[in-house]
């Protein structure tokens, strides 16, 4: 097993990971192990973030269908219109406060992950 240590340089975090022999040997034969691990990490992270964004989008769309509007419109109306709140509580969901917290998390979470993805892709 090859121990792989990174650290010290700007933009790197000190961390130790182990690479199974079978991968270390194969990657060594194919070229630079460091470059291969960097590329693999980038691809895996992008894949995970993309899946997370899709999940959050699906949840946000579920709320859009439930309340019949997008989040900014809903947030604006729910914050300032008492008759709208009463209508929602009667006709859609008396626990709209729970949905709102999750919906906002989804919408802002999508932005968080897009920024993270851009930071990975642009550096």
């Amino acid at each position: 097993m090859l121990m792989f240590k990174r650290g010290g340089d700007k933009g790197l975090t000190m961390i130790t990971v182990s690479i199974p022999d079978k991968y270390a040997k194969a990657l060594s034969a194919l070229g630079d192990v460091q470059a291969a691990v960097d590329l693999a990490l980038q691809r895996y992270t992008i894949e995970q973030i993309t899946a997370k964004i899709a999940q959050l989008r699906q949840r946000a769309q579920m709320y859009e269908a439930k309340y019949g509007m997008d989040y900014p419109t809903f947030a604006q109306r729910i914050a300032g219109d008492e008759s709208f709140v009463r209508e929602i509580e009667t006709a859609v969901n008396p626990l709209w406060e729970l949905d709102t917290a999750d919906w906002e998390f989804c919408v802002k979470g999508i932005t968080d992950w897009i920024h993270t993805l851009q930071a990975i892709l642009l550096t």
Binding site: E82, V85, P94, E97, L98, A101, D102, F105, K108, G109
Partner: protein, 133 residues
């Protein structure tokens, strides 16, 4: 994300597991915010807890329902009815402001409160809706 959020969420989950039954936990996080959702049973009551930790602080929702009726609901959402109660009118400058408040009687009563934690909610349940046996 608030660095204290994971520890606080762990405490809330532990408290929920010792207080409620049928506890279902969902956690989600991004680099900037974290979400905790819990559904559980407390005797005949259905419990719904949501906490979000982000740049704006902590948003909380603590609800107990008996069948489909809201027996109690503590939250700090920017409910316009809470805004009116606090400021007398819904001014533009206060829209979106977190207002801690309490719903009773299937949301027909609303009173302002101090900020609460999940521990405060559990304490309230133990005092106001004690379970027999």
């Amino acid at each position: 994300m608030d660095p204290h959020a994971p520890g606080y969420f762990a405490d809330v989950i532990q408290l929920a597991r010792v207080t409620f039954t049928n506890v279902e936990v969902e956690i989600d996080a991004t680099p900037a915010r974290a979400l905790l959702r819990i559904q559980a049973r407390y005797g005949p009551y259905r419990i719904f807890i949501t906490e979000v930790s982000d740049e704006g602080g902590c948003k909380y929702r603590y609800y107990a329902l008996l069948e489909n009726e809201v027996v109690v609901g503590f939250d700090n959402s920017p409910d316009p009815r809470a805004l009116r109660l606090k400021y007398g009118q819904i001014g533009e400058e206060h829209i979106g402001e977190y207002i801690p408040h309490l719903h009773r009687e299937n949301k027909t009563q609303l009173v302002l409160t101090e900020e609460l934690t999940c521990a405060d909610f559990v304490h309230w349940l133990n005092q106001q809706l004690p379970l027999q046996g």
